[in-house]
């Protein structure tokens, strides 16, 4: 979809046009599901488990049912429906056993939220507490309790996933490339480390909310704050065995998603309450606390990496084992594992690789997609590891990265050969290194160090990510011409604020040759009126829907030209058009306006020809394959977006406090369709990355109760946490099959921010931190309690078993 057009030939693509949804959002007119009310609507509340694992002996809801205004009370025993994206493992309400703190065991719908709350209070549950399995590494032990003893009987997507019945392993992804034994044997150095990070909450400002009306004849209407209308419908229909055309899903404005609303959430719960309440619409909105513990989070990760390096500093072999904590249910976590598995080395060429990635059930709130889809977590590990490797072998970390970075001709872990059109991680690395004056302390910085007494350090981390999606992922766009020659565009990709609709509007206007004002993107998504889209996830929206929009625009023009050719009695080849009319190119006065053809052209005698002009565009991912389940070989990547962050921090060596002074980020986006929107994604993701890097994360007590399900105890970054300087760069290596050369960048800005921070802090303080978030006290502890890291280097030309702390940093 990329034509080699000069930027000056483009009217809208590449320009920072205003967002299509600003006015509604700035005036408060935009209606979110949170704001919606329907006649007769009931309000739902849920009874939640105070235990991480317990048998439900009995639920007494008699008192709740007797409260005036209570219209439906429901428990898991009545609901045999199981749900699951990839592994069908979750009941709507817990049945028999609760598997995590905060899991819903009963629900109420009532005339008011207050009555519903009182009714939930009146429900009593008799639990028999069971020993929970809380840490994912403990869950692998042979004597660990099984979170899902019936795993063997669950259905799952066999083409992509491998659950291990009789264990807590929900999926095992394997990748084998080359000969790792040989690679290690030839290595001068072998270095191994382990890195980790906790579960994290997405924190959309609008918590999960849905309204569902289960009408007569099993016709179900769902209004929901979700990312993917067709996936909600599909999973819903599978769970309830309903025909797809019985169920309608409508998504209006959405107050943030970040992956937490990618699949199905609270819709089935509202649905069963509505059915039980005689078809009255039922609304459930998660409280902020429920958003943390009832709804899914990001998986924790333990990542062990062993690397063999030649004496010249080239990585020869890498053995990678990922342990992903799925929590109580598999949801997206199994696919996070799969997508992370085939990307596990980051943007580096590893000739011989061995990867085992496990998704592990535990008795904790469950893991799902979160911006970056595993890449934020494992890049924390891999980019800290690259730093450590470089220092251990006495190379500058930047040089080491440059030497091993993917480049044209490199083969990815799955065997895909990169070309010069694939994007350039090297350019991104070099750009951010230059931007932060990497490797030196400027005069200004030296002055600042003197003034503050704090030490300045600089670090770099690179990144890559491809959309994680089924190989046959498809979408469609419809462009309908209105009577006045303007157009309305329908698609089921949702705009959660990221701005894809604005970019697609620019693409449609560009391809049609119309002024921007003539192009409107229809906002609410509706499975009954919009054409199919798989999901709004994976940074694939602009690429797939942008391409479909181009094809739809061309289809519309083709259909208009056909009518014009007939009216003007000319051949198609001789026609041209502008924003208002189709004309004969060598005789432009002979023309016909779009408006006169928009809904059917009337000949002078009244005869009609043509009919409503509707352009249809569909696009399906090209050339992707399933991966070989034993070797991981195949083509999973629609495209790779590469990037890098450079960070400057200053730290107080006494207290462990630190400040991020500067961040420079660079991404190879192919083409920045709307530069200010790209910048919005770059900075927004960077800040979310800083939250993950500096302070966010789930904290549990020993019984598995979540201790910090609130903004009081789980801070997210505020404006005051912004680095003093933020710089955003784009490299534009056109993606040949991308719309105007573009590839996605929605997630990438969040990836590797934590590692850049870790690397910069190490440089500033010497603290080797292997777990994120890096709180001030972690730096303080690391500085005071340097644990010896003996036996991590098992082979080196300088003798084996050297402790890392003894090795001088070249950059020092």
């Amino acid at each position: 979809m990329f034509d080699d057009l000069k930027p000056e030939a483009l009217r809208y693509v590449g320009k920072s046009e205003k967002k299509v949804d600003d006015t509604e959002k700035l005036t408060g007119e935009a209606v979110y599901v949170s704001d919606m009310k329907f006649p007769g609507m009931l309000y739902a509340q849920v009874k939640k488990s105070p235990h991480a694992r317990a048998r439900i002996r009995n639920i007494d809801s008699g008192k709740a049912q007797a409260i005036p205004g209570v219209r439906a009370v429901i428990t898991g025993e009545e609901l045999a429906y199981r749900l699951g994206l990839y592994v069908v493992d979750k009941y709507i309400l817990a049945r028999g056993e609760v598997r995590h703190y905060g899991e819903a065991v009963a629900a109420v719908a009532a005339d008011t939220p207050e009555i519903a709350r009182a009714a939930v209070e009146a429900i009593t549950v008799d639990y028999e507490e069971l020993p929970p399995v809380l840490h994912h590494m403990d869950a692998l032990k042979p004597d660990a309790p099984l979170v899902h003893p019936d795993l063997g009987s669950y259905s799952y997507v066999a083409a992509a996933f491998t659950p291990k019945p009789g264990s807590n392993i929900a999926n095992h992804t394997k990748l084998r490339k080359g000969d790792v034994d040989k690679g290690f044997a030839e290595s001068a150095w072998i270095i191994e480390r382990e890195y980790s990070c906790p579960s994290v909450q997405h924190v959309p400002m609008e918590t999960h909310v849905a309204i569902v009306k289960w009408s007569s004849g099993d016709k179900v209407s769902i209004w929901t704050s979700a990312q993917s209308p067709f996936t909600v419908r599909n999973l819903f229909c599978h769970a309830f065995s309903l025909p797809h055309n019985n169920v309608r899903v409508i998504i209006p404005y959405v107050g943030g998603g970040f992956g937490g609303k990618a699949g199905i959430g609270v819709e089935p719960l509202c649905a069963v309450l509505s059915r039980k309440a005689g078809g009255r619409p039922v609304k459930f909105q998660a409280s902020r606390e429920e958003e943390f513990s009832l709804l899914p989070c990001r998986s924790a990760l333990t990542y062990r990496i062993r690397t063999g390096i030649s004496s010249e500093g080239k990585i020869l072999a890498q053995h990678m084992t990922m342990y992903w904590d799925s929590g109580a249910y598999a949801d997206y976590a199994v696919n996070v594992t799969r997508a992370s598995g085939y990307s596990a080395s980051g943007p580096y060429e590893i000739p011989n690789a061995w990867i085992d990635a496990y998704t592990i059930y535990t008795n904790k709130p469950f893991g799902t997609a979160y911006r970056g889809f595993g890449h934020v977590e494992f890049h924390w590990a891999i980019e800290r590891h690259m730093e450590l490797l470089a220092l251990a072998i006495g190379m500058d970390p930047l040089e080491f990265r440059r030497k091993n970075a993917l480049r044209p001709g490199s083969r990815t872990l799955t065997g895909e050969e990169l070309t010069e059109h694939s994007g350039s991680v090297l350019k991104c690395i070099d750009t951010v290194a230059a931007a932060i004056s990497y490797g030196k302390i400027t005069k200004e910085e030296a002055g600042r160090e003197k003034r503050t007494g704090w030490k300045i350090g600089k670090g770099i981390a690179a990144l890559q990510k491809a959309p994680a999606m089924p190989p046959f992922t498809a979408t469609a766009v419809i462009i309908k011409m209105n009577e006045d020659g303007s157009v309305t565009v329908n698609l089921a990709l949702t705009d959660l604020g990221q701005g894809t609709y604005t970019s697609i509007r620019q693409i449609v206007a560009e391809r049609l040759g119309f002024v921007l004002e003539k192009v409107k993107i229809s906002f609410d998504c509706d499975t009954e009126k919009d054409p199919y889209d798989w999901q709004t996830v994976a940074s694939k929206g602009l690429f797939l829907s942008g391409n479909a929009a181009i094809i739809a625009a061309e289809d519309l023009l083709k259909k208009a030209y056909a009518v014009a050719a007939e009216v003007l009695h000319v051949g198609l080849r001789d026609l041209g058009h502008d924003g208002d009319k189709v004309f004969l190119r060598h005789h432009p006065a002979r023309s016909i306006s779009f408006s006169s053809m928009a809904v059917g052209y009337m000949m002078p005698n009244g005869n009609g020809i043509g009919g409503p002009l509707i352009g249809v565009g569909k696009y399906i991912a090209q050339g992707l394959t399933n991966l070989n389940k034993e070797t991981g070989e195949g083509h999973p990547a629609l495209n790779w977006t590469f990037g890098a962050h450079g960070m400057v921090v200053e730290a107080n060596l006494e207290t462990g406090e630190y400040r991020v002074l500067r961040i420079a980020s660079a991404f190879d986006v192919g083409k920045a369709v709307n530069p200010e929107l790209v910048r919005g994604q770059a900075i927004g993701g960077m800040m979310q990355g800083l939250g993950t890097a500096m302070c966010e994360g789930y904290i549990y007590d020993k019984e598995g109760r979540l201790l910090n399900p609130s903004f009081t105890d789980n801070k997210i970054p505020t404006a005051k946490d912004l680095p003093l300087e933020v710089e955003c760069f784009v490299v534009e290596t056109a993606q040949i099959d991308g719309p105007y050369g573009a590839r996605g960048v929605g997630e990438h800005s969040m990836i590797s921010v934590a590692a850049a921070l870790g690397n910069a802090l190490r440089k500033a303080t010497g603290a080797e931190i292997l777990h994120m978030p890096i709180r001030f006290e972690d730096v303080w502890r690391a500085l005071r309690n340097k644990k010896p890291i003996d036996n991590w280097i098992t082979k080196s030309p300088l003798g084996s078993c050297r402790s890392v702390k003894d090795i001088p940093s070249v950059a020092d």
Binding site: L26, G497, G680, Q688
Partner: protein, 162 residues
């Protein structure tokens, strides 16, 4: 229940409210002004920021009963018949809106700032919106909107092409 009388965006309302009803739920549910959002209900996130008698408050922390006789300003009162307010226009021009859920509260906090400070520094702007969480934008384009509006547009950053 008790009867209260308030003026919201220049219009008078008289309603019966329960003693425990928050000003936020009163505004959203009783008056139908849903532009003011609820992000946490605990006074942490700032999504429900409104003016109460000329001062910004988190409406989730105020009881409707306390607002009896008060004058209240919400996001619905910001745009006039001639279109968006200057603050709203600056947000639009500077791409300061993403999902939009924090936007109404953010606009109110910026309005409060500009009442007292005609030319705020970036630090002063950060201070003023510190209580308004935004998970999407990373705040920078919001800060730039305020700088632009107060004649400091030269401090605005841009996407750099390599």
């Amino acid at each position: 229940m008790m009867k209260i009388k308030v003026t919201v965006n220049g219009l008078e309302y008289e309603r019966d409210v329960a003693e425990h009803r928050t000003l936020l739920h009163f505004i959203r549910d009783d008056l139908g002004l849903s532009g003011t959002k609820e992000g946490c209900g605990m006074g942490e996130c700032g999504a429900c920021t409104v003016f109460l008698n000329g001062k910004v408050v988190n409406a989730c922390l105020v009881l409707a009963a306390e607002a009896d006789g008060a004058s209240i300003e919400t996001i619905e009162g910001q745009a006039g018949s001639f279109g968006l307010s200057d603050i709203q226009k600056a947000f639009e021009k500077n791409h300061a809106v993403q999902c939009g859920f924090c936007t109404p509260g953010m606009v109110m906090s910026v309005k409060e700032l500009l009442r007292h400070n005609g030319k705020p520094t970036p630090e002063a702007i950060k201070e003023a919106i510190e209580g308004n969480f935004c998970r999407c934008t990373g705040y920078t384009q919001i800060i730039e909107a305020v700088l632009d509006l107060t004649g400091q547009g030269d401090l605005k950053g841009e996407l750099k092409h390599v």
